[in-house]
Symmetry: C2
Subunit: 154 residues, 2 copies
């Protein structure tokens, strides 16, 4: 076998390994991907609620808002690591098949949410409650837009 043929064999072998490796491979099982994204979304939802509780209060606690906004900034990409191929119909997922059949829209919605969270965190840093309120409203809309299209109704 000459070097060229060896290289071709190696490339073919690597390609078949890649094809055989499921997309959720960073998780031991597809169930773990589902659990991971649900966990990240639970924390995100909880910290959105904590910010809302402050904005609904006549004297919002800015430290609480800043803490939750910074955490949202850290968490915002985590769910999207785990909407991988092969995890669409696993356990008690509320994920709609459209996540995988209309991936471009789903990715766009994810990006919109992440941009709104960045703006919310930036507003929280300034401490301007009016700006925080606006940015929070837009973040909430970005959550809802994605849920409307891609989350099964409860």
């Amino acid at each position: 076998m000459n070097r060229f043929v060896q290289a071709a064999f190696l490339a073919a072998t690597l390609a078949s390994i890649a094809a055989a490796t499921p997309a959720w491979a960073q998780f031991a099982k597809p169930e773990e991907a589902v659990e991971y994204r649900q966990s990240a979304l639970t924390l995100i939802g909880n910290h959105m609620k904590r910010i809302k509780a402050q904005l609904d209060n006549s004297k919002p606690n800015l430290d609480v808002i800043r803490n939750s906004a910074a955490l949202l900034e850290t968490l915002k990409t985590l769910p999207f690591e785990a909407f991988t191929e092969g995890t669409g119909d696993i356990g008690e997922t509320a994920a709609k098949p459209e996540i995988w059949t209309d991936r471009d829209t789903f990715d766009k919605r994810a990006k919109e949410m992440q941009e709104k969270v960045a703006a919310l965190n930036a507003a929280a840093r300034t401490g301007d409650i009016g700006a925080i309120r606006t940015a929070f409203g837009e973040t909430g809309k970005a959550c809802k837009n994605c849920h409307d299209d891609f989350r099964k109704k409860k």
Copy 2:
């Protein structure tokens, strides 16, 4: 009613409100506290596994380790916001009653884990795989110590 009596009434009223407010009040329902701590622990467990996968690899990816270690540093206090009074026997919790009957030990275990995670993150920053391996082992032990005493067997 003179001012002194008014003030005493006010103080008594405030005290009764405080007594009537459950410790999980930062969550809308005790179930949310359970879900919150389970979610945080799921993410922590997942990122411990990601670091382990790199350390088990002959060529550990330092970026993956650093990313997960930094995330663990952010997540390490989150579960402990949610082991509040009144959330001990809710839904499918694996929390043992000892969390509430031997709170000092539980808090000590939580603090140990948090210190080990800080050391793991510091080691990850240096990039010294040997130091990361040691710090990771100690973090894993801290997780296990707490689970052994305070988590129900599956």
